[in-house]
């Protein structure tokens, strides 16, 4: 069964304290891995797409990387405004619908 698992479920950081979020997947024939940011009460906001092992994407303090089994979202010197739930997703084996992990809720305090 296609599955996406994110860890940790929650992460508390001090402002400036760098860390990483993990997303592991079991779907075969990966056709992309997607990262989203979701603020409370809002729809997920698209961040990155990664297609092949070794690929990296960056946006401000965020950098996403991909291996054959997992992806990492590295957060460098986070600020309080980076607090949100971060979701990763992969397409199902058939079709374009995405399977989501349960997310990592990041809290950054000043």
């Amino acid at each position: 069964e296609d599955q996406v698992t994110q860890s940790p479920e929650a992460l508390r950081l001090q402002e400036g304290e760098s860390s990483s979020l993990n997303c592991s997947y079991t779907v075969s024939g990966l056709r992309g891995l997607f990262w989203y940011r979701q603020d409370p009460g809002k729809g997920p906001e698209f961040l990155f797409t990664l297609y092949s092992a070794g690929e990296e994407k960056e946006k401000e303090r965020l950098k996403a990387t991909l291996t054959k089994k997992e992806s990492f979202l590295h957060i460098t010197a986070p600020k309080p405004e980076d607090s949100a739930t971060y979701l990763c997703a992969v397409p199902r084996r058939a079709g374009t619908a995405l399977i989501f992990g349960k997310g990592t809720t990041l809290s950054v305090s000043s």
């Binding site: 992309g32 009460g41 809002k42 729809g43 979701l87 997703a89 399977i99 349960k102």
Partner: protein
Amino acid sequence: SQTIHQWPATLVQPVGSPLSLECTVEGTSNPNLYWYRQAAGRGLQLLFYSVGIGQISSEVPQNLSASRPQDRQFILSSKKLLLSDSGFYLCAWSPTSEAFFGQGTRLTVV
């Protein structure tokens, strides 16, 4: 540019009442459209997806239904709501692989 509109933002409905949530996409044609539900601690669950007018695929047996009467319009309905239908409903569209979400509808069934 493409935009997605979803309404209403919040809804409180009594058990047994009908439901109609609407989603429209602007700035694109023939998008793939999706309805997801997000419940606390369970992540995003795919409910329905559509690849074209009148083409609906259901993922989870339940008392909800979906329709796509126009190319860029996707409607989620129920004839009689249950308490378990409470949740955060998200509409999304996809040009190819990544999905873009609306702002969501918080449904509370009382």
